[in-house]
Subunit: 455 residues, 2 copies
Amino acid sequence: MTPFLTELTAALGEKVSLNEAVRDHHGHDMSRLPAHRPDAVVFATGEADVVAAVTICATHGVPVVAVGAGSSMEGHTIPVKGGISLDLKGMNRILAVNDADFDAVVEAGVTRKQLNEYLRDRGLMFTVDPGADASLGGMASTRASGTTAVRYGTMRETVIALRVVTASGAVVETGRRVKKSSTGYDLTKLFVGAEGTLGIITEVTVKLHPIPEVTASAICAFATMEGAVQTVVETLQSALPVARIEFLDEVAVQAANAHAGLGLTVAPTLFLEFHGSERWVAEQSEAVRALALDNGGADFAWSTRPEDRARLWKARHETIYSNQSLRPGCKTYTTDVCVPVSRLAEAVLEARREADTAPFPVKIIGHVGDGNFHVGYLIMPGDEGEYAIADALAERLYQRTMDMGGTFSGEHGVGVSKLKYLRREHGGGVDLMKAIKAALDPQGIMNPGKLGQEG
Amino acid sequence: MTPFLTELTAALGEKVSLNEAVRDHHGHDMSRLPAHRPDAVVFATGEADVVAAVTICATHGVPVVAVGAGSSMEGHTIPVKGGISLDLKGMNRILAVNDADFDAVVEAGVTRKQLNEYLRDRGLMFTVDPGADASLGGMASTRASGTTAVRYGTMRETVIALRVVTASGAVVETGRRVKKSSTGYDLTKLFVGAEGTLGIITEVTVKLHPIPEVTASAICAFATMEGAVQTVVETLQSALPVARIEFLDEVAVQAANAHAGLGLTVAPTLFLEFHGSERWVAEQSEAVRALALDNGGADFAWSTRPEDRARLWKARHETIYSNQSLRPGCKTYTTDVCVPVSRLAEAVLEARREADTAPFPVKIIGHVGDGNFHVGYLIMPGDEGEYAIADALAERLYQRTMDMGGTFSGEHGVGVSKLKYLRREHGGGVDLMKAIKAALDPQGIMNPGKLGQEG
């Protein structure tokens, strides 16, 4: 045992694991990136554990990498420089729900499904929905979003305040539980999306919304991809507050059919959802339906029963698993781009055109109401040739996105392998990021090898 | 001439003014704070001027204080440590309006009325409305909001991206023109609300909204203050998307009547506005009307004609000028607090109770949908006794607000004299702010004596 591990174990006892299988498990995430085993795993059950672990790491200059549900797609939680994996899954208490203020205060390890389960009887909901049952601390750190961001915003708009443990082990509250404030630098927004490189989030205060009186889901198949995307653009331009507007290309519809037995027409398709009063939902959906019909859409297929709606959105969320049905044994190389809505049609069509040159299936799905879509390359694990082709396609996709004024991540984050794009997108902004990183984490122990450094 | 002024004048020629009257004019703002004359005023007409001025200031270690419309209420633009006042009013070009993406790119000196005038024919609007015809750069720097934030958000939600000149004279774009991104620290939100202490904003990209099909304004007088506030709380809890919901207490209504001849019943009053389709506005306003009637409200008095609406909101915005009619010759000592909505009734009632002990008129108005209200003390300039009483009342108001989990500024910002509250509200967060300030402005030349320092 090194002096570091001796001190860590003395302070945190059985919460520290040096077990190889446990360490291996904490060495990877959902991505295709190479694993890297941490020196130890600390299972924190409260903020005091986080403070103790970070303080000891700071004394010894050892890296700390926080992990929640482990659903990162970009290697955020892989301890690429070793050190400890600080597992926050045990910090899963819901600390307060303030019905009158529409907010909740939770420990970082609480997952979105857990919170929504808890809230249901109170008529409230937490709206950010990335598909995976991610932890709120992780979602905050990744600035996550998902299907409902078009209506309710991403974690950027949803996180009201945070408690964080800084690189020196201090506990800081980044803001108050108020709807607005003009007092000082926006520390909350600085930690949202910082990917654990500036401090460890231990508590998250989030905005809630009332469960709408009426929720109506519809599916609409289109003759062309252009028609589907154009419908999205026109819907946004009409300022209709759709709650969800998701695009699936033909390949994605095939996969969803095979995986979930949806029996959908194989065509470019929109999944839509409307929230509001009965009259207001009727008004919104009528307006969108008219736009769709004008753009070569078939009539809406409605899912009004909750169980049908659940099946529909489950199928959408599980698109990544459904890829097995298209190409058994494959792994999905997922990308994540976001462009101004005015460039969406061009961006999606160009991506599809290029995808058709690939020797493996490629599918496109997207939170198109935000201008955000994912091109997924279904490649065989270990096939270096396919991997290289996918890499080249992704590289061109990202560059084209940035050339259109877009961003190389709408919601998955930067993580490890996309760090190389940071300067291409942010230019001299990267120098400010590095200065902030150096100021708040002078030893460079908070999730090193990630944001705040050059790629 | 000092070597600094020689170099500045050589580089910027007639854009530099050393004239005493000009310097005096730039030494104060809308607040009651002591003026401080800058050493020179630079009238920038483009980003290159800002870069030149900041670079020369950096070389000589001279402070730079940017100023737009000069409508700060908290001394933000007073050059308390001397140096130059960098006047951006001449940077007033609207650079792009992207109808399809609902955004606009403007120079920092463009004012909100100028932008809305420009947008009107395109059916679009810029929604942040602090009353004063502030510049967008200034509004971004103060994280301003106003009457419509309850529906459309503050500058925090409205600013998409910025161009800034850093303390070393580098030009940085803080983000892309996309609806969301997960790539790196949120530099945009860091500069929003930084009050010019981390860099100078030269360009602002803001979110726009479509001008609603129908806009309907209503006034509702209440038997009690409790009834008015309770109506606000219940409206928010019903998730009704009111576009404006403003509170005026009896004293404020008297002032508005005297100033603008509104002829309103002297009672605690709500000014409301609804935006949407005809049916949707009818549905919203019916629901709020029912809540108001249940809480002792009189029936709604509607203003459907645009000119009546304009008169109404002009009266609301001019409440600060209308104070003259209550107490001729007075100056208004304005405060700005924001509490969680659940504490709003208690906070407003307590403020009114305490105000009634004052030997001068005190009025309360507020953007109550955000939990934000202003207590205004109408004191005589030069009366040190009244000033001291107002100071003590404000101190108690701010402390009580923070004790309720609120913030000592909802929208006016920190500026000079409220810097002393920063640690009371943010605790150790102030240490992070100071570290960020030191990292991005190591010489301390960007608006010194303000945020990023202790009070």
